[in-house]
């Protein structure tokens, strides 16, 4: 009953159990499809075809995935320190101000390859600043970071509405958004890459160079967490604050630094839709990507090598979901929100539900692999 979980082979721990959790999440989603009177298998086929069946589809899938890589990495970095940053949504949204500041100031004078790095710095900085206050309050005053980051999501939303309506909206314009960015603040598209591979892609497709930035960030996060002293300290803190104290690692410093990095990653997400697609800053451009990051990080087990595919999976759901909504009018894009919720439930909160069963199976099939021999001998 209260026996600790016996050990499973690594491939079962990192491969089998997450896979089973994911399958269950999709099976339950399939039930919902069934409930609204559609065939879940046909829905799955349409979804996958819509996402990967054409160059156009792939380009959109990767465009959405770009957002989720950023937000997934943001959540994951905080997880490594034992922190739950639920504020990626707000950090990305408010970072739109950083993008706007750079783009609107320089887009008539500088080329994109100068503005792009400036925008990266500005968005990361603003996102980090938005994470700084909750981080400081957690580190120095013990305020629960989950609650403060939720609150900061709402405060960010109010600030953005105010800024877009009262400050950034051009005089005389109706829509609460900035003016269109000029060419200097428009990022080069990557559709041509797929064309090179022999696929048909319209030039308007929004996949752009920030996808490359996302992949670079995924790599850098891996380097940070597993190859630097700072990453070592972050992981020590995440696994055991007592060991961190013993090792002379300052708890408040690590919490604040980790949250700054997390906020910066979330902030960079703003570049993709703003400079890569919309070419202005509209209301609500994050569109829930900050929360998808939670599902992506949980599914990817906080490792960039898991996060990138998980983000592409969610990109597929977003893109394929659009196709699905077209083919099956009963299934709108909100289906993805359900799947997202189910993934968070089964891969996150219920991650250990199937563990005892699987351990049981392993124990029966091959007692040595889980090391139960000694325990059995004791009981006799």
């Amino acid at each position: 009953m209260s026996t600790p979980y016996a050990k499973l082979p690594a491939w079962a721990d990192y491969g089998l159990i997450p896979l089973i959790n994911l399958l269950v999440a999709f099976a339950v989603a399939g039930l919902v499809v069934l409930l609204v009177g559609e065939n879940p298998f046909r829905a799955a086929v349409i979804l996958v075809e819509g996402a990967f069946g054409s160059g156009q589809g792939i380009a959109y899938t990767l465009f959405y995935a770009t957002n989720f890589i950023f937000t997934g990495l943001a959540v994951a970095v905080a997880f490594h320190c034992g922190l739950f940053n639920i504020g990626g949504e707000g950090q990305a949204y408010i970072a739109g101000l950083g993008v706007a500041a750079v783009a609107l100031t320089f887009d008539s004078t500088l080329p994109w390859w100068v503005i792009f790095p400036l925008a990266i710095i500005a968005s990361a900085l603003v996102g980090a600043l938005w994470a700084l206050i909750p981080a400081y309050l957690q580190a120095k005053r013990g305020s629960h970071i989950v609650i403060t980051t939720i609150m900061f999501n709402f405060i960010a939303a109010s600030v953005m509405v105010y800024m877009l309506v009262n400050v950034l909206k051009p005089v005389g314009a109706m829509a609460p958004q900035t003016r269109q960015f000029l060419e200097g603040a428009q990022l080069p598209k990557l559709g041509w890459l797929l064309t090179e591979l022999g696929m048909k892609v319209r030039p308007s497709v929004p996949l752009n160079i920030s996808f490359v930035l996302a992949l670079v960030m995924a790599f850098l996060v891996w380097v940070l967490i597993w190859r630097t002293k700072l990453g070592y300290e972050i992981r020590t803190m995440g696994f055991s604050p007592k060991a961190a104290r013993y090792a002379g690692i300052s708890e408040s410093r690590i919490i604040i630094v980790t949250m700054l990095i997390s906020g910066a990653l979330a902030g960079m997400m703003a570049i993709n839709p703003l400079m890569g697609d919309q070419h202005n800053v509209p209301l609500d451009f994050v569109g829930g990507a900050g929360f998808v990051g939670i599902a992506v990080a949980l599914m990817g087990r906080s490792h960039p090598a898991g996060i990138v595919p998980a983000a592409i999976l969610f990109g597929m759901l977003y893109q394929g979901g659009a196709e699905l909504a077209f083919e099956m009018p009963n299934i709108s894009r909100d289906m993805i929100v359900i799947i997202q919720g189910l993934v968070i439930l089964f891969a996150g909160a219920l991650e250990n539900m199937f563990r005892p069963t699987i351990q049981g199976i392993f124990a029966t099939l091959s007692p040595k692999s889980v090391g139960v021999v000694a325990a059995k001998g004791e009981r006799a």
Binding site: T3, P4, K7, V223, R227, T228, K229, L230, Y232, E233, R235, T236, F239, S240, K242, A243, R245, Y246, A247, G248, A374, A375, E378, R379
Partner: protein
Amino acid sequence: MAEAAIELVGINKSFGAVRANRDIALEIPRGTIHGIIGENGAGKSTLMSILYGFYQADSGEIRVNGRTASIKTPNDAIAAGIGMVHQHFMLVENFSVLENVILGAEGEALLNKSIAKARSELRRLEQEYGLEVDPDAIIEELPVGLQQRVEILKALYRGAEILILDEPTGVLTPAEADHLFRILQQLKDQGKTVVLITHKLREIMAITDNVSVMRQGTMVATRKTSETTVEELAELMVGRRVLLRVEKGEAKPGPVKLAVKGLTVKDSRGVTMVDNVSFDIRAGEIVGIAGVAGNGQSELMEAVSGIRKAVSGTVMLDGKPIDLTGQADPGELRDRGLAHVPEDRHHVGLVLAFDESENSILGYHDKPQYLKGPFLNLDAIQKDAQEKIEKYDIRPANPRLKTANFSGGNQQKIVLAREIEQDPGVLIVGQPTRGVDVGAIEFIHKRLIAMRDQGKAVLLVSVELDEIRSLSDRILVMFAGRVVGERGPETSEGELGLLMAGVEHKEAAE
């Protein structure tokens, strides 16, 4: 002998591979105070938790008043008339005394009647046993002694005829402890049965009628208290273990490396854990601190190594003071040559989820030899870990393996290798061989002696008396936060045992 209130027959209980109780038999006569004594980890608390229904025995039988009782939950125990005062109080701290007393014994769905009933019942108990406590006081505002009284009241309110107290004096001042004993005496006079779990011999001799001794999960003896002596009990408790004598030459003490003066440390509840402790350690000697766990050794060690705040006193390392404000940087102390092998290797000394090589640099991860700028120098770290693995015969010899997959002895070697190989001037070692197999114990002991012979100062804290005796050049005994005596390594176990039990100390004070 009177009829048995409790009879235990063939109780067995294992936690994983650890056999906490083996084939325990015990008879406790009604209307007596029965002591159960043993070292930490002897299985006393587990046995009582089984009796109280908190755990279930793997096998065996419990009889209450001669009848077989099936005790599966605390509810069953309460129904059988058993009450328990836990070592860590089971009180809701922001509740009033009354609320705590009625919790789980409210009687009916609305509280007003049960509160009124409890109020008058408390008044009765107060008069009967001298258990005074303000029923409307909030628990967290009460001193520890009164909180414990509330625990006793809880049990009596539920109609307990048999009262188990688990290490009740651990958190009490001597005056509070004396008051508690008077209460227990009164309970006995009223016909209640009291079971007192403790590791303090003085308490056993002072108030029990009978005493049972546990050692390593087994019940080794039961005696009438009037027919036994402290010496006999101490020996039964510790047992005649095979002494792993380590060959060592004469110590050649050099200059003072670590000087502790007037050190006082309080825990988070404000209880004084280390009380005005002073001692020196010289280069080339091992100073052992003997004592039953919980007498302030852990706090002493943590304060000296800069990870716990001290209230007053000084600690000088090579003549320069250590920051005792709790804000010290343990990294800086490492640079000054102070290494620390903590007692709790699972949560403090190691990160079990890390690779072996990652743990081999914990605390030294900012040393230039392990870094290339801001990056970890993985090649250097691996090579370093591999060298330590060979030198300390750590198995399996794989620096990439998760630390959780190593045995206790090998985990301890990982910590020791890390701390010793940094060539510190002062080494503080806590429980170096707890949970470590025999082969590794010998190896670890030899290493510590070698440290001494290289002219290092070693502070050794251990609850294992034979370890202290075979390694130390001087032995300090701690009891209730104080150093109550200094002895040479040839001192007999019996004498040290008495000191550890606070007997000598008490007599000297009187």
